[in-house]
Symmetry: C2
Subunit: 329 residues, 2 copies
Amino acid sequence: MTHMPTTLPVSAADVDAAAAVVAPFAVRTPLLSAPVLNERIGTRVFLKPEMLQRTGSFKFRGAFNKLSSIPQDKRAGGVVAFSSGNHAQGVAAAAKILHMQATIVMPKDAPLLKRERTKSYGAEVVLYDRDREDREAIAREIAEKRGATLVKPYDDPLIIAGQGTAGREIAEDMATLGVTPDVVLAPASGGGLIAGVATAVKARFPSAEVIVAEPEAFDDHSLSLRAGKRERHQGSGRTICDALMAAIPGELTFTINSQLLSRGVVASDAEVGAAVAFAFNELKLVVEPGGAVGLAALLAGRIDTKDKTIVVVLSGGNVDADMFARLVA
Amino acid sequence: MTHMPTTLPVSAADVDAAAAVVAPFAVRTPLLSAPVLNERIGTRVFLKPEMLQRTGSFKFRGAFNKLSSIPQDKRAGGVVAFSSGNHAQGVAAAAKILHMQATIVMPKDAPLLKRERTKSYGAEVVLYDRDREDREAIAREIAEKRGATLVKPYDDPLIIAGQGTAGREIAEDMATLGVTPDVVLAPASGGGLIAGVATAVKARFPSAEVIVAEPEAFDDHSLSLRAGKRERHQGSGRTICDALMAAIPGELTFTINSQLLSRGVVASDAEVGAAVAFAFNELKLVVEPGGAVGLAALLAGRIDTKDKTIVVVLSGGNVDADMFARLVA
């Protein structure tokens, strides 16, 4: 869709405002191109490598934007967040910079690396059982008890606008190159990243198709876009994309994504593993499984690439050494 | 030293000319910064990530510049090169673009990945025994028999000028940022990369100290700089830095390096392994051991960093998956 209703919860101006807040602390990640990928896909592909962002994923952008908005008189209570790992690190790192206490509610089966890295930023980590406990309830209880501000992982306009700064940089860099993106591909769990990216990219390039990439069977955004309303995915069990396991799109994110996104594509765990290995062998980038799902869909031929300029967001690189070794072996 | 004699075999103008030749085909690698590295070192550090270059190392730059200079009537004979792996890939990839046949003489113990990647560019690979055979003699024989042009790995002004384009990009990007580099750190085997980088960087920033990083016991550049003449290193056996095993600096490269470099630093294999792991865990970049030796020296505290702006060249990322898994475990 090429129109952009002014009633959306986040505007391009909100992303501009977020960029001013996060720029002094976030890494301005480059827009990369790799001849080997262009040759493999047969068209021009650009990569937005958010594993190079502070904390190893895009999540710092939204977290820092949100935490910066907390009034001084509320900061003493600290912040609390629930996350499988990347939002955890983003919130913890932002809290450290802003001298706030952070408590993070993480699933017991989150990758060890993500738990350890979250603690390394000075956050307190509270573990819960993904199958038996309600992380939101645990986080809310902590928030009430301590007077802490709950920092949602995606369904917050300030979080979405913060993640959108990655899209704003893509749009700026494409404009500098004089190239119009035809397709922008990004992963989604709750949908905050792609909502922000779509907001920023479509403001500058209304003709760009923004496509959401998801793990097979965890395709709630794809289902919801087709249905025109928020739908749960049917995925049970696990995917190697630990960062992309949200069951249903966010309310705010879906309000945006249902207007701005074209459709969804999926990749199997095997295809994601092959993309992680491709990134290691050919791109020399460390991508975590969830961060590679867009690249996986592209490499698997799920995107019509003929004569198109494609941008792929690689959203993070926080992968345990043993999982990484298995995938690249 | 801050003077730059006009008698050096490669000038900044030669690097400018090389940049015009290679720019349409080489990746213009970004200058990266990482808050986690700045915090760890306590100063401002920039990284030049040459693993993002075509073929996974800086070597494509020099090879493409050299091969482009071969007259049309000599191109039918093809090119021949000897290399432990990265120069091999650079020459093979440049030859493919220029529609020339490439034959590469590689040691039998070169990493499998480097052999396979060299073949993937269409080159013929001839293996030799590092301890018993003379690779230069083998390459010269092939050159004579086929009328091929021998492409030396470093001791050629066009190769040095090509590698220098990495330094030229560093200088351009630092100038754009308005930052003056105090120290530029790069690995050396034969010394072509650092000679080219020093030529370009010191032309723009004469006060910058350019420091060569080498594996412990393979420190022929450090020894030679101290002695004021080319000296062999005393290293026997192996280092994990397979790319950095040349026994003595090149003649042309040392003529340049003895004028432009300040000194050398070394890192042990254990320190190099730690740097590869740091790059994986914190920078999310795939660096091969030889490419990480400058970072290793920096992380090991071998550089006086107080109030200094440091640039580290990460020269390549062609590392076998099993070696990488061992180093990051």
